[in-house]
């Protein structure tokens, strides 16, 4: 790999991000500007912005790598990442917009009228955010190692520093336009190379004949039912609780626009995921050796120059490197903004200085974790974060919106149960399944049993605590579900 291309592409994206951050300095000076959002953003912009923040290292690099490594079972990841927004649409989008809550802790506190419910939610949001940032930094480490030959830790450090500086300087990332631009950048960075490869690949001999590249044993016919169902539970329900997604819904003018935005997100994600999928298919035919070398996640970075040597291949490589770095930076900074908001409000009094300290803290804790651990596949690690989110925040969010019987005690019991069960399964699963191999799938994909147990505990404890139903419940639920009066706004679409 020509290291100069790597340096140029990474430097260009880093400088662009830094410029945006410093430009943001001039725009935002006061505390409220850090959280500011215009509520008249059009659905298309808003949907692009949601896509821009959402598509992370797992989507950009991880899916193609996993298709190369494991075959068609990996196709369930993009399906789940997309269908998660369908669940968001069906159960969360409009009511959450109408709640007026800006973060998930705001929502639980307002709904349950309990400071303790808020504190536990905040803690979970912080843990989820940190573990979601870790794979982004590991993706950056991989990209830097593969494309420049520098040691891997340089990549993690660079992303963590850029994100901390940009967020602490401007809080600019919450501006819709920048995130919307990120979506189209990421889409182009995959779509152009895929189209070029498909057009030019005709004269290259595949490394494997189609029958060997796509064996039925790795195909859709060979379905592991439990694992697939459990993964879908994790991805579909985990999307509901992601800390950086909720903020975006606030910029919709009302509940109806929130729904329309979500449908557009479904369309945008569906289009985007066709390209990593195509990369994965190309990889199986043309670069099966990458699966063996353990660098499957680097498939998208390596394939263009392999198939098209020369200047055109170099340009395409620069494209995908830039897109990958944009993915690491935009997702990490979206998460750091949300985390810094939660940390600074709950611990540091909500000042600008507190926000900056929190931004630095939110970037460096995951950096330490990323440097201390080895990536075990980007798509897989993000999938586990979704499983944890689905087991902890999702039951509270869903029951809080739809069930008037939820109490603070029930919510806290459910969140703690879900956190302990899924946390133990994720962290201790490898050790347990080495002497009880029969449990392996249940520990590697825990969501199918941890989510129902968490919901059950929440409901049972709430039932036993009928007097704990918050007094404002009816009022709050009315607010969540009653539509805005006709004609309260006419200026959209």
């Amino acid at each position: 790999m020509n290291a100069a291309i790597g340096y140029i592409a990474i430097a260009a994206v880093a400088i662009a991000s830094a410029l945006i951050g410093f430009y943001g300095l001039r725009v935002s000076r006061t505390t409220s500007d850090f959280y500011v959002a215009s509520r008249t953003v059009r659905p298309w912009w808003n949907a692009s912005a949601i896509g821009g923040e959402y598509l992370s290292a797992a989507s950009f690099l991880g899916i193609a790598g996993l298709i190369l490594l494991t075959g068609s079972s990996a196709l369930w990841f993009p399906i789940g990442y997309t269908a998660g927004y369908l669940m968001l649409l069906l159960f969360v989008a409009a009511p959450l917009r109408r709640s007026g809550a800006y973060t998930i802790p705001d929502f639980t506190e307002a709904r349950l009228e309990s400071v303790w419910a808020r504190r536990i939610t905040s803690t979970l949001v912080i843990v989820i955010g940190w573990f979601y940032i870790v794979p982004q930094l590991q993706g950056a480490a991989l990209t830097v190692r593969i494309t420049t030959g520098l040691p891997a830790w340089v990549g993690s450090l660079a992303v963590a520093v850029i994100v901390a500086v940009v967020v602490a300087a401007g809080g600019m990332r919450s501006i819709t336009f920048v995130q919307a631009f990120q979506f189209w950048l990421k889409l182009t960075a995959l779509a152009v190379p895929v189209c070029a490869l498909l057009l030019l690949v005709g004269d290259v001999q595949p490394a494997l004949p189609p029958v060997e590249a796509f064996p039925p044993s790795a195909g859709p016919g060979d379905l592991e039912v439990y694992r697939t169902v459990s993964l879908m539970v994790a991805l579909l329900l985990g999307t509901l609780g992601l800390p950086h997604v909720l903020v975006r819904f606030y910029t919709n003018p009302d509940g109806v626009a929130a729904r329309r935005t979500t449908v557009i997100v479904l369309v945008l994600l569906s289009v985007f995921y066709l390209f990593p999928t195509a990369f994965g298919f190309l990889g199986r035919a043309f670069a099966p050796d990458l699966a063996a070398s353990g660098d499957a996640d680097a498939l998208i970075l390596l394939l263009p120059e392999r198939l098209i040597p020369g200047p055109l291949g170099d340009v395409l490589t620069a494209f995908v490197i830039a897109g990958a770095f944009a993915a690491f930076l935009s997702t990490s900074s979206g998460l750091v903004v949300s985390l810094a908001g939660v940390i600074s409000q709950d611990l540091l009094g909500g000042s600008v200085r507190g926000f900056r300290i929190a931004a630095v803290l939110s970037s460096f804790v995951p950096l330490v974790v990323a440097l201390a651990t080895q990536s075990s596949g980007l798509a897989g690690s993000v999938g586990l974060v979704f499983a944890f989110t689905a087991s902890t925040l999702c039951p509270v969010l869903l029951l809080g919106i739809w069930w008037r019987g939820l109490t603070a005690r029930g919510a806290i019991a459910g969140m703690l149960t879900g956190a302990v069960l899924s946390g133990v399964a994720i962290l201790g699963g490898a050790a347990v399944s080495s002497w009880l191999p029969a449990l392996r799938p249940f520990l590697e994909q825990p969501a199918a049993w941890t989510v129902p147990i968490a919901v059950l505990v929440t409901v049972l404890v709430s039932r036993g605590d009928r007097r704990g139903i918050p007094r404002g419940t009816d009022r709050f639920l009315t607010r969540l579900h009653a539509p805005e009066p006709a004609g309260h706004h006419r200026r959209e679409g």
Partner: protein, 127 residues
């Protein structure tokens, strides 16, 4: 209400921790006054129930349709043997086929949910 006047830009600030009153109502909201009478409460509850039913029906519908689709792919071995641009049809179908389904379910749901809300609105505004 004037249609030409753009709504004023609203500055959104997150509430400070600890002030439950502030976080309960961070933004003035016109659409959802608390139910003033029992009958209003009944309307809201029936709206919530019908929206929840709608969401569950669409979610289950999506799950069942996806399961049937995957089952069909798995049970037709010819799909593994038919290659389109070098990739088996079964892989292409799984890789691209569920997305149109998700979008369709989403678009239909938006229409149905808006209909529920319009019904609620006409009930409450008739009073």
């Amino acid at each position: 209400m004037s249609d030409d006047q753009p709504p004023p830009r609203v500055r959104v600030t997150a509430p400070h921790a600890g002030s439950a009153a502030a976080s309960a109502r961070p933004v003035p909201h016109h659409g959802a006054e608390a139910p003033t009478s029992d009958i209003a409460g009944v309307y809201v509850r029936s709206l919530i129930r019908s929206q929840l039913r709608l969401g569950i029906v669409f979610a289950v519908g999506f799950a069942v349709a996806t399961a049937l689709f995957v089952l069909a792919i798995a049970l037709v071995p010819q799909l593994d043997e038919t290659f389109v641009v070098g990739v088996p049809l079964s892989w292409l179908l799984l890789g691209a086929g569920v997305y149109p389904l998700a979008i369709t379910v989403g678009a239909l749901y938006v229409r149905a949910a808006s209909r529920n809300e319009a019904r609620y609105r006409s009930l409450t505004e008739d009073e």
